[in-house]
Structures are given as C-alpha cells and as structure tokens.
Symmetry: C2
Amino acid sequence: MKVTVVKDILDANRRVSSVNKARFDEAKLFVVNLMSSPGAGKTALLEKTIADLKGELSIGVIEGDIQTSLDADRIEAAGATFTHQINTHGACHIDGNMIAPVLDLMDMSVLDLLVVENVGNLVCPAEFDVGEDEKMVLFSVTEGDDKPKKYPLMFQESNLMVVNKIDLLPYLDSELETIHKNARDVHPGLTIFDVSCRNGDGLDAFYGWLKEKVAAKKAG
Amino acid sequence: MKVTVVKDILDANRRVSSVNKARFDEAKLFVVNLMSSPGAGKTALLEKTIADLKGELSIGVIEGDIQTSLDADRIEAAGATFTHQINTHGACHIDGNMIAPVLDLMDMSVLDLLVVENVGNLVCPAEFDVGEDEKMVLFSVTEGDDKPKKYPLMFQESNLMVVNKIDLLPYLDSELETIHKNARDVHPGLTIFDVSCRNGDGLDAFYGWLKEKVAAKKAG
C-alpha cells in the first residue's frame, strides 16, 4: 500500500517533469539539477560560477530551500540573469510540480544555463526529476570518503560529481582517491572534478564542462 | 490528498513509537535519537563515547543506514554492548516500525543507554519519533553557520545540539557564535556543547549530560 503510494507519486512527478523537459528542449536551454548534503557549498559554487562566467554564460537559478531566501539573495547579488526562490515548507526535495509554475516567470530565450539548486539532502532529491538535462552531485571532502557507498542512489543518478573544499584535505582523514574510488564503484562512468570554491582551484575544468554542455544543447 | 497520506503515516508512526517508548520506560533505558547531515561525525562521536565511557555506561547502538554495514562494524569494534544494523534500502529516515522488531533482539536490562543513529539527513528524520527520550542533532562547523535557519525543524525538535569538528574552525568562514545564535533563534532553550571528536575537546561536557540523563531515567 505504502509502496503503491510512493510509486504513484514518482510516476506523477515523471509526467510533470517530462513536460518541463519539453519546454527546456524547445528553448534549447541546458538545465542542471544541483544536489548535495547541507553545507557542501552549492550556493558558493553558483556564486563563483556566475561571477567568473559573466559575459560568457547567462545563468538563471531556481533556489530550493525549506525556509528563508538567504540563498536567492546571494545568487541575485552574484549577478544571475534570473533568480527565483522556492520554499518547500518542510518538503525534503524539489520536484517537477514546484518547477513548472516558475517556467512561466522566466524568459528562457535570454538564458544559456538554468540551475535548480535542490534542498540540501543526499537522499530524497535523487528520486525526483525536475526536467533537467543533467543531475550533478556536489560533495564536500569534509563528509568523509565512505559516503558514496552509504548513499549510492545520489551518485548513481548523477553523471557529474564535483568534489569541493579540497583546500581542507590537509586537516582531514578523508582521502581524495578513496572518494573517487567509492563513487566510481557505484557509478563507473561518473565524471569528476575536484575544486575549492574558497581559492578557485579546479573550477576551470567545471566551467569547461558547463560551456561544452550549453553549446551542445544549443546546437542540438 | 497528499497531505492526508502524510498525516496518516505520521500518526501511524506515533502509535508504534509510543509502544516502543513504553518498553524503554519499563526497562528504565535512556534512549537518544541521534540525527545529522551525512558526514557530521555521528559514528565517530559514538566510537569515542563508547570507548571513553567503557566501565561507566553500557551502550547499545541501532545503526540506520540506507546501505552497507560500515557503521555497525565500527561501533562493534569500539566495544558497544549491543549493535544492530538497519538498512533502509532507500528510505531517508528511521521510523518506529523499523525499531520495534529490534527491541526483541536486545537485553535491555544490561544496557544503560541506547542510541539510534539515524540516516544522515538534516530534514526527514526530524519528523519521525522512534520512541526516544531525547532527539539530538550533531552539527559540523563545516556545514556553514546559516543552516539552523534553513533547516529549522531539526533544531526545534532536538533538545541538544552538539557542534562537531571545532578543530577545523581556523580554516573556515563559519563562526561558532553565529551557529549558536542561529540555532537558539529557532529554539531558545537548546542545550549546546562544542566538541572535536578528532582531538577530544569538549567531549567531557557531553558525557556529563549523558550520565545525568541515564541516572535520571534509572531513578525515574
């Protein structure tokens, strides 16, 4: 009974999200669903990305948070072309239904990239498409190198893992190689970039990935 | 409709958990529901606690993880009196129904303290009692000082917050005072201890809290 309810919810979400996806595809807008634990640095990564790619990519962000507009305020200040805050009021993830009405508020033709910054949660968001082209997981080295094995769905669903806060590695017991190995054990084809949003290390590779994907979507 | 389903699930859980609670109360066993984001250090805190209080408190641990028995293996090696691993296979929290059958596997009379280590998730576990005396949230300074405002239910439901990894503060932009302030803004009566499981700083205050609570439950 409980399983049926869950299946119905997931099926309904897939239907709504496929409509979102069709609208993004028509606008040739590349969309990323950005997921992580709380505090891995999703907003910090977007702030850096928006600032560093100013003039190259026009970026919109839909912020998902249980409460507050703290993140949308930061994203707007960073210079995003479009920013919208969703407050889920308790819900642990963003789903297609929450995104659908926001599409009417944005002019997709002026955007190159739309990022949906999900609620900080390494579990639930991985189950719900929003209509994105790519799911990506941001992972902080402070979370410990065993996590991809303990929360496998997130790493299986994501095609890209960005490992953040590598500047803290000297002060931790986590090993970067072990994080990579554990993540690729659950998802062999995973693309990985190691970065520090604090000092900028490694961000160029991530920007290169974004620009390639945006160009491919426009060409497609 | 969706809201009704959620309410039914929460009501059903409360009924099962109150039966668990009655069994814990009869055994005068103090029970903590330990919650945090992934990688805040729940298992590390329990390893230290079990080792440091050996001979003083007999501790049982029910480990909740989506997958793997990595944590139960560590807890058993640390010398817990009782260890049991629950794998939720995708579910984002531990509920009363998952705990109930485990109670038949343990001899409560030889335990002073039972800890339910929840799935790493700062959202969903806060909604589900398991029959505990106290909910506690472990918070890592690496998660950023804004998180109590962004995930308020977890900090409202918990009577104790332990702030971990304070040895990393010199390398972060997080301020301990801001973490305290933001947590007390959403829960004015919150008890707070700052610790480092890595170097042992501050753990004695947490152990004192545990021993007091255990003694009170036995006396109760």
